[in-house]
Amino acid sequence: MTDTHCPYCALQCAMTLTPSVEEGVSVAPRQFPTNRGGLCQKGWTSAAVLRAPDRITTPLVRSAQGVLEEATWEEALAYVAARVRSLQAEHGPDSIGVFGGGGLTNEKAYQLGKFTRTVLRTKHIDYNGRFCMSSAAAAGNRAFGIDRGMPFPVSDVDATGAVLLLGSNVADTMPPFVQHLAGVRERGGLIVVDPRRSATAALTDEAGLHLQPLPGTDQVLLLGLLHLVVAQGLADEEYLAARVHGWDEVIRSAALWWPGRVATTTGVPEASLRRAVEVLAAAAPSRGGRGAMILTGRGAEQHTGGTDTVTAAINLALALGLPGRAASGYGCLTGQGNGQGGREHGQKADQLPGYRLIEDPAARAHVAGVWGVSPESLPGKGVPAVELLGKLGGEVKALFVHGANVLVSAPDATAVRRRLESLDLLVVCDFVPSETARLADVVLPVTQWAEEEGTMTSLEGRILRRRRAIDPPGQARSELAILRDLAAALGSDVHFDTEPALVFDELARASAGGVADYSGLSHALLDATERPLHWPAPAGSSGTPRLFATRFAHADGKARMVPVSPGAPADDLRAEAPVYLVTGRVLAQYQSGAQTRRVEALNDVAPAPYVELHPHLARRHAIEDGDDVAVTSARGTAVARARITGTIRPDTVFMPFHWPGDGMANAVTNDATDPVSGMPEFKVCAVSVARADLLEVTA
């Protein structure tokens, strides 16, 4: 029996694995403060992917005939090394790109960053967390000087009096989390902001409040709430004076967002805005409440103004005096399993391990020291994911993909496919033939969660152990081994450990003194204690479950409020595209679906993409439930079954993004990005809808 955590989302539910014949392991939930013995269906069925019939168990290399054929590790790695050498000789180090993932363990993420900077010596690395956490991360850094998704343990949610949840459908994406909302629901303090009455929004049905704004107007909504806080004198002036810079400018930034204007911009009735402020203010500790929290998810963040929207959420939290107070604060609900750790150890274009900036000379010197290379040899900062994908086939000739299925998960997928196809070399490390892997020149089979050791950092910034229960099948290998071997094949003398515990020790040293300091941790310590260990955990400390009680992470200890002013979506409504498309996840699938679409039980529940639309819109286009509906934007069309429901706004349609093919939502989405974070605008673009058969007739 092996204690570990779920392979999927950032809640990292605890589970116990027992080796079994059919599926490799059998999964049982385990008591743990985040999941309290719960698992969602994805977690329960996660073992099925271990024995997926099409699991890749040998390296594959594309033959002269253009087919992926089995190869030995030596052949595959030698081929990759030779191609990389010749491309770099001709086009320079930056002609190689690396695309990482938020599902990789800390050890792999760290090693991938190190390999990129010391062996490939390219500046071109980024990861799919850019599609996930980057806006919240940028806003958190700007405001607090640190980016830890939740600066308090998940269990603090139980105690709070009010939660304003923006753009997160936790009831579908991480169901066990809903247990923590029981108290706040009972107290009538749950406020959910979502253009759909999602499963999470429906949690407010009995008591609580669902605000259903027009997509892309979350920032206006937040400014409207802030305006009411100021207008009604509800701000925590004492706290603001003592702990925050910038309050005066932020007050002014809300002066033009009076309730009537906000109501007609967002579609949320004025009375609901006033009620929301009442609930939040009453729960604020400064007014004697039990605590209040503002939590954001991708729905609010995946916009060209995403960083500013999160900033507006943080401004509201600071105005009410929440961050650093008991059962209070701002938090971002991380999506991917290691979305938090994945961004701390060097997969981000501008960062080195420990959340250090790659352009900071002191950071370069420290990390280069740990790596045994000269600081000058490290490349500078690269470009964020969407821009990196935009360079494929141009400046970037070869791409390594680790733990990502960009063909399905990146915006404007049709363009992404074209760019991937134009590469000289595409190397994909995966355990199943994902859509991206099928385009690759070389596919390298890697281990899965139950087959490996390592650590993950969950949405609450707690470092968790992932443990090995069974051996990997066939020739599958850990990325740690692959990176070491590739380094050797490329003639590098930089040292790469393959033992996860040793890699972690090195990571800990590299992170020492950084913002995300892991230097007090080791696998042995994590194994020996039940105590929750949250970073920062410098040597000698016992971790930091709660941040900000006395100071924020900026040098002077104060938080920064930054005024924001909302803009329109990059691809806005017009006569030919009069409704908005929003995209998201469903309960029984995960991300690009490369894993979950291989689980029968999940496909039974969520077999295919669909278009959710309101009866008014459906009737106008003569669409009946189950009809094929074409959703078309300036970039492309996706066709999927209609699901007619009154729970969505009549001016909005929704599509889950887990599927490739005709129903691929990301063929329609926009790749415009946030100027601060590089986050693409997945969550809103203008589309037209039509019954698919009628579209063909007229076309």
């Binding site: 719960g38 269906q41 002014r252 009076w258 109501a263 009735p269 004025e270 009375a271």
Partner: protein
């Protein structure tokens, strides 16, 4: 050398213009001077009625200050003349400031009709245009026993509601046959009057004030044109505005009701522009904020050398007008029924007893006019549908259903729930699976959970699973096996 731009008037439109110019001017081509006569930092004027109503703190009105390093802001200084030959603006403090471009954003002032009794300027007669006005009215409201609001337009009604909210008995007087005659037809206006009366605001239409009667320089009553006399120790005159054109007229620029400008917002002097409430472009004057803001953006874009955005359909669509008052929810926009074209489709729902009224005007399937009164749950959605021209439902009246028609589904009783109903969403467990688990011997929730995984996600379905198990257990007693089993199985079978 940078081009000197002088903006006269730091109201909402002058402020917006400066903001946009600074934002767009990355190369710092312009040296900007902003001259504002009011002592205060620029503020959101339209919220003054909210302040008067005690619904907003003054702090919530202060606008962002123009960046000090980019804008020379002369606060509390008025422009008193323009020397067009020298290219200089003369300021009240005796100084001159040179310009290559001059933007007049002098706004408007309240219009006070020449009533008898006002020549002596009695105390307690006020207008509401500036922060100082607002302070004065609010101060008087503390002791006022009866206030008269002269003018039943948008602003007059907001102010009347605000005064009422401060506990002052109020009478609104308007010469037109109904309230808000500029925007509303008689039908909704009558419902509105009823709504106001219910809030304690008295409404007299078709009549006006002939004389202000005062004693010892203090207002004590008003005499109406029909001879009635109403005691009044506060009169708020809200009879519309007049553009501030004196500065332009003094400089020899063409002035009509406002400063006359062309489509490019330029006066006859190509170096001088006018925007906002003071300007009279060919499209006309509205006295509203949004068109002023659009002019500010347009002019900033022109100076920045950008193509000013094509006047979109949206810009040509008349602005929604919202009455900002607690207890009255009124929004009106676009074409009203009395002005509808012959082919337009007009839908009206009137419910005067409940203080509700809706007019919708559709032209070729598109929403071109909306008046909503007393439906606060749907008025934002209707405004959006008009403003963003999102698809109108085949039956436009369904726009009036809250939540867009999505009725909350009742969770059916365990017995009647079809077998295919998903009971546990997190694990995709149906009622049928729970029934089979029970048949396999799982007689309590924990056993069912172990067998099916139901309840092991968010735990939200625990109650329903409990109910199912209880129902199954209750239907089990040996003696009634036969009926219980059929009862139990019927719904399962019929749906599978």
């Amino acid at each position: 050398m940078s081009e000197r731009v002088v903006v006269v008037g730091a109201g909402m439109v002058g402020h917006r213009f400066v903001d946009e110019l600074v934002r767009g001017d990355r190369e710092e081509r312009f040296a900007i001077t902003l001259v504002g006569e009011e002592e205060y930092e620029p503020y959101n004027r339209i919220l003054l009625s909210e302040v008067l109503a005690g619904r907003a703190d003054l702090r919530a009105l202060t606008l962002p200050l123009p960046a000090a390093e980019r804008v020379d802001f002369r606060r509390g200084v008025s422009a008193v003349g323009i020397d067009r030959d020298a290219g200089e603006v003369l300021l009240g403090d005796g100084s001159r400031t040179p310009y290559e471009r001059l933007v007049l954003a002098t706004g408007a002032r309240a219009f006070v009709p020449p009533l008898d009794g006002l020549e002596s300027e009695p105390r307690h007669v006020h207008v509401l245009r500036t922060l100082d006005d607002c302070r004065n009215v609010a101060a008087r409201a503390i002791n006022a026993k009866h206030a008269v609001v002269l003018g039943g337009g948008l602003l007059g009604l907001e102010a009347a509601c605000g005064l009422r909210r401060r506990g002052v008995p109020v009478t609104v007087i308007d010469l037109d046959s109904h309230l808000m005659a500029t925007q509303l037809d008689g039908g909704p206006a009558r419902v509105l009057a009823g709504r106001l009366r219910a809030l304690g605001v008295d409404v007299l239409t078709g009549v006006s004030v002939a004389e202000a009667i005062s004693a010892y320089d203090e207002l004590v009553a008003v005499r109406l044109i029909d001879g009635r006399v109403l005691a009044a120790d506060l009169m708020l005159v809200s009879c519309g505005v007049r553009a501030n054109t004196a500065l332009a007229a003094g400089a020899g620029l063409t002035v009509d009701r406002g400063i006359v400008v062309d489509d490019a917002l330029t006066t006859a002097d190509s170096r001088i522009h006018a925007i906002g409430d003071c300007a009279q472009p060919p499209s006309g004057m509205t006295g509203l904020l949004a068109p002023g803001w659009a002019q500010a953006s347009q002019l900033a874009a022109t100076l920045l050398g950008r193509e000013p955005l094509e006047p979109t359909e949206a810009a040509e669509r008349p602005e929604p007008i919202t009455l900002k008052a607690a207890g009255v929810d009124l929004v009106t926009m676009g074409v009203r029924p009395s002005r509808a074209a012959a082919d337009d489709r007009v839908l009206t729902v009137s419910d005067p007893d409940a203080g509700r009224h809706v007019d919708l005007v559709l032209r070729e399937g598109a929403l071109v006019g909306v008046t909503v009164l007393g439906f606060p749950e749907v008025s934002p959605a209707l405004t959006l549908a008009y403003d963003r021209q999102t698809p109108v439902p085949l039956d436009p009246l369904s726009l009036l259903v809250t939540g867009g028609g999505g009725a909350v589904e009742e969770s059916p009783s365990p017995m009647r729930m079809p077998g295919t109903t998903t009971v546990c969403r997190c694990n995709g467990v149906t009622k049928k699976q729970i029934v089979s688990a029970w048949e396999d011997g799982a007689r309590n929730v924990d056993a069912v959970a172990a067998n099916t995984r139901a309840t092991t996600g968010c735990g939200g379905c625990r109650e329903v699973v409990c109910g199912l198990v209880d129902w199954l257990n209750a239907s089990d007693p040996a003696e009634s096996v036969s009926t219980a089993v059929t009862e139990r199985n019927t719904p399962v079978e019929t749906t599978t």
